[in-house]
Amino acid sequence: MSNYTDKIREISERLLKEGRVDMVIGFKQGTMPMMNEPCFVKKPEDVSKLVWDSHCGINLANYLTDRKEKIGVIAKGCDSRNIVTHIIENKIKREQLVIIGVPCKGMIDRRKIASMSDAEILSVAEQNGKVIVKTKDAEKRYERTDLLQKNCALCVHRNPVIYDELAADLVEEQKNVDRYADIREIEAMPPDEKWHLFDDLFSACIRCYACRNACPLCYCPTCFVDESRPQWVGKSTDPIDTKTFHFLRAYHCAGRCTDCGACERACPVGINMRLLTRKLEKDCFESFGWEAGLSLDQRPPLDVYKTNDPEDFIK
């Protein structure tokens, strides 16, 4: 991974020196194991701040919304797809961006590592496909492929779909991934069982909105949960309001979600809200053959009407 970092710094320095961008948005080393902090670099001499490793799971498209500068942005496969969506939705202009593509082998699931250890994790490092996890009294090694974030394990677009520079050679895409096994199980449940599943799924939610705010799609100036005239959703921790928030948010992302996993990664209480977003992703794929953010030339399916749109639900 250190060669990724070197290359990113080299490209960023060049872009800043040549004045092609006003700032580069990337990651800097975090203060906690498995955490990096999104940051900007405006001066060529500061590019040494930038790092790249398996803990860059936050979606940087989130930091582009409505910005006016010329920006160099570091983009994994999912980030690049959200950048495409941002461009289509007029949240940033293609001309403003120099996209530094990072072919990605998946991010590491910090929750999974934390849950495997009773003791506090003090550091996590990588060596030849192995992840070395250190606690106060022990050091354990794991296969990197066993520790991927759930969305990364299912990812079929690891390479950036749009880029101006590349920080490494393209990687091989994962083949024969069954993205929706768990969704099919839920689809098969009777209504009551589904309802109980969602009750349980969202019971820990504290309505902090980290999922919404980490999501590059959630840029509405006033979110529906904040509307007061009329008020759509109650503000309390009532489970109905909580579920309404999650369901509606998922619907707002239908046909736009790239399954970047930022929502789940950001959640302080570990809610698997991707169960909702992936169901809609699956529907969009099955009904319209659509995957979000692959091309600048196509409008998202819920944005267009076609005579062959499926309508078997209409009686």
Partner: protein, 49 residues
């Protein structure tokens, strides 16, 4: 979402299709009545401390 399939109906009815309209409305009413009152997205009163 846990909502019974029969509780939600979609239909195209032209303003000229009065018979179809009656059929659909009757059908929807019967289907929903058969399911009984909806319990799931109903907020009774806020459960609070």
């Amino acid at each position: 979402m846990g909502i019974e399939p029969d509780r939600l109906h979609f239909s195209w009815i032209s303003s000229a299709e009065s018979t179809k309209f009656v059929e659909v409305v009757t059908g929807v009413t019967e289907a929903v009545r058969a399911l009984g009152p909806h319990q799931k997205f109903v907020k009774t009163n806020v459960k609070v401390a």
